[in-house]
Subunit: 202 residues, 2 copies
Amino acid sequence: MLFPALENVVRLLSSLPGIGQRSALRIAFHLIRSENEKANDISEAITRLKGEVRFCSRCGSLADQDLCSICRDSRRDRSVLCVVEEPGDVYAIEKTGEFGGSYHVLMGAISPLDGIGPGDLRIKELLGRVQDEPDLKELLLATNPTLEGDATAEYIASLLKDAKLHITRISHGIPTGASIEYAEKTTLARSIKLRQDFKAQA
Amino acid sequence: MLFPALENVVRLLSSLPGIGQRSALRIAFHLIRSENEKANDISEAITRLKGEVRFCSRCGSLADQDLCSICRDSRRDRSVLCVVEEPGDVYAIEKTGEFGGSYHVLMGAISPLDGIGPGDLRIKELLGRVQDEPDLKELLLATNPTLEGDATAEYIASLLKDAKLHITRISHGIPTGASIEYAEKTTLARSIKLRQDFKAQA
């Protein structure tokens, strides 16, 4: 390429997750074609993001200061710790209103195909918290019910098998409102294998 | 999301081609985690790109002023116009040293599946040049030999069937150095159907 400014943008953009050389070039062309304002907006938004948002030093969720609002909240139940893959999962669970404990965000799940191993996740930090937080009694593994999420949950459970902790997993099954006839096969199989007492469902 | 700065970045990034809501969020998390310097570099690179690179107002290739260096070059042959999909194709053809004419960049190819129709390409500009450039004798259609590129070439040829122009297409065939045994089937079929006089190949 004859334009150093273009080469530079492509190199930087393709260092971002999920953007290859080809899509970086497409994005650069798109930006060259766009209004100056749009490119400025993106530049400014990135700078503002770095200034205003960080990760909570304890749980790894999003925060506007060292600790996030949940970790700072003294009314939260410190005996249950919910382990999730991404900060977005924290918001989804908070919206249900079903959980009053604290969180730990792993920042992903074990996925050998994507080159993500246990060392790339916040598992060491989780083990540290299990040791340092004396009130902790239950660890709720709320990673996604996918191959990767299941493997991550298994891995964490195996690391903590000797800890004095009740380790639980979110339940799997047919989603509310779904039809049995068209349910995804693996989900249906699991919901039969893991069937619950009728009264427990109420 | 509780963080307007994050919401803002995700909205802007997901407006770029090839970036969905999910990958925009992944990129934002990556940026939050990165050194401040990296985020700054990206912001600055985008601003610099807009300042230093634009598209040639005539051919649509990359330029540092209103016309690109090829369109400004009076030694180029104005009787042959080579039509390509992307600015990168211009550089690839220039490197061969086989072409001394001028270019026209379409900025893509017709692709109904991606929602790209003739109106999204620089075809109107091409028709304008065919009318305005009196020396033009040959139009070499060098769109990719893909479904989309072939369709685009067909479409342009059909629009210009009454123009006094020799319309040509880059040749298709077995790439230099490839083996017939392992050649891709469609390519091999085409290279037989479109076989050339032996002397023409020299």
